[in-house]
Symmetry: C2
Subunit: 328 residues, 2 copies
């Protein structure tokens, strides 16, 4: 099978966008990055990928600071954090030609709907990425493990173009599977993300620690059950087999060594959390299908609260701040 060469625009050049973009460029695709933090470093020194599968360097990388400079492409790949979705439409619009398709690899639910509402259902594909990567110094990206993408049409079905993207990704060394039911793939990922992202973020403990404690291990599984009930109330082509799926997720997570989900890192570094895409919208979808997810809702409330308030660290800090204000 010949691999089509595409003009690809990357929106949201965080760890995911930089890594997948670099892999695609290395395989011969014509990749352009929308860059902010890394722009000058990449113009000067190119992009350095540190990967568990071997490091490589791209000396020439095309980066822009605005989407208007980039102009139309064949494929837009979106890696933007969903808490920045208010900018998404304006970032994507200048990249669209008559045939451009849009692939969002963002977390959670609601991203395809946002794009389809503005640009039409036919342009939109979505994918779930199982990738562990971090940004390093400007111009550097670290690929720590995994990387698989499952992608499909927003309106469902196994299209020719989703097969083409599967081929392009696999040819670039990114394991990829085109699926006929994107909604199911998204909910399956939520079965993992909803308990682990939130609990690890809230408690600032990694997956291994969370699973080492009998009660929190049980809580993870109870939240997974809620998400599967929410998923199976959606119009999926095939239901998720709850007990078997949970068992597999727990088994796989037990194999990970001290994994820190993205939301745990985001919270630890004081960044916003992707609560809308990973919690609020799934909860709305479940509620619309009359499925109650009380523990998921409680976790969302605790995370949402903790985003709005900086935690105190005990009375010592309170007292010292009182002293400071008394000295003013």
């Amino acid at each position: 099978m010949t691999v089509k060469k595409l003009k690809i625009g990357i929106i949201g050049s965080g760890a995911l966008g930089l890594y997948y973009g670099a892999m695609l460029q290395r395989s011969g695709q014509d990749v352009r990055f929308l860059l902010r933090r890394d722009l000058s470093a990449i113009h000067q020194n190119g992009l350095q990928v540190h990967s568990v599968h071997g490091d490589f360097h791209l000396p020439q990388v095309v980066g822009y600071s605005t989407p208007n400079e980039m102009g139309p492409v064949d494929l837009v790949i979106i890696g933007l954090k969903t808490f920045a979705n208010q900018y998404l439409i304006d970032l994507v619009r200048p990249l669209l030609g008559a045939q451009t398709c849009i692939l969002t690899l963002q977390n959670g639910l609601g991203n395809e709907e946002l794009l389809a509402g503005e640009f039409g259902v036919d342009r939109v594909l979505g994918g779930v990425a199982f990738l562990c990567s971090n940004r390093g110094e400007p111009g550097h990206v670290h690929h720590l493990g995994e990387g698989k993408v499952r992608l499909g049409e927003f309106h469902g079905g196994l299209s020719e173009r989703s097969r083409q993207l599967e081929t392009i990704f696999n040819a670039a060394g990114i394991p990829c599977e085109a699926v006929d039911d994107l909604q199911r793939a998204r909910w399956e990922k939520l079965v993992w993300n909803i308990p682990f992202n939130g609990l690890c973020a809230l408690l600032q403990q990694n997956t291994t620690e969370l699973l080492s404690h009998a009660e929190s291990r049980q809580l993870v599984q109870e939240i997974m059950q809620e998400v599967i009930a929410g998923a199976n109330a959606q119009p999926l082509k095939e239901k998720i087999d709850g007990p078997a799926f949970i068992e597999r997720m727990i088994y796989l997570t037990d194999q990970m060594n001290g994994y820190q989900p993205s939301m745990m890192i985001d919270r630890g570094e004081g960044r916003p959390l992707e609560l809308n895409a990973i919690y609020a919208i799934p909860l709305q979808r479940a509620e619309a299908a009359e499925i109650n997810m009380p523990k998921t809702k409680m976790l969302h409330t605790l995370l949402d609260f903790s985003e709005h308030f900086q935690p105190n660290t005990g009375s010592l800090r309170d007292l010292s701040s009182l002293k400071i204000s008394a000295c003013k």
Copy 2:
């Protein structure tokens, strides 16, 4: 009504024990304290009470470092934190004469049962204290507000001696009410303690902050509903009127200005939490009555987990500790 003079032994001379003991001594009662941290300071300088109702100083305070030195008393008042309950029986035993009664003012459930199991049901009374106090420097205790006690017989009913204790406490300036259903008083206090202690401890935010956010305010009320359902499944003489009681609790808490529940302070200062008395035993009692308390259980799990694991504070600390270990 004449106020009987009793020989009173205080076990657990934290903020609660020191404050109530000092008030009782000032009113003419013969009070002895079991002291650890404050022993030498109190022997040298007496006990200083800093109170919103006026400061006072007790120059002569009888304090012991072991219960054997104290010997039998008429009344044992217990203010020990429940996480130290494994020492309770041995601390109380030397204080018991033939007629000694035991009043536990500890938090949560299970304390009267522990004492009654060892020393007999007839000796045991319990009380719930609504007190805001802190220990200061050794020999100092701070009374920040409230102070009311509701006490009653462990086996129920309004006894002569509970009336006498009511008189003794009121005469000492401690607002006190003898109640005929101690279990109801305990559960009523749990309706407040279970949501506020745990959520404030977990999130390290005070009651005002917790109630200022619509979703967490709602969560507090949902947890209160669970606790009331658990309470009303117990053999209480009179059921708790859920909506009215919740409304009053929320109203009263809205009047408090940035109140920090004891468990929030305990967690902030790295002390153990009273999870058994405030969560585990109430959950067991509710479960035995076939009442499900999913949000209370989830809160207990999160608190219990957070007690077992020190939270990381983001990747910076992790990296610096790595550097340190590399320099060894």
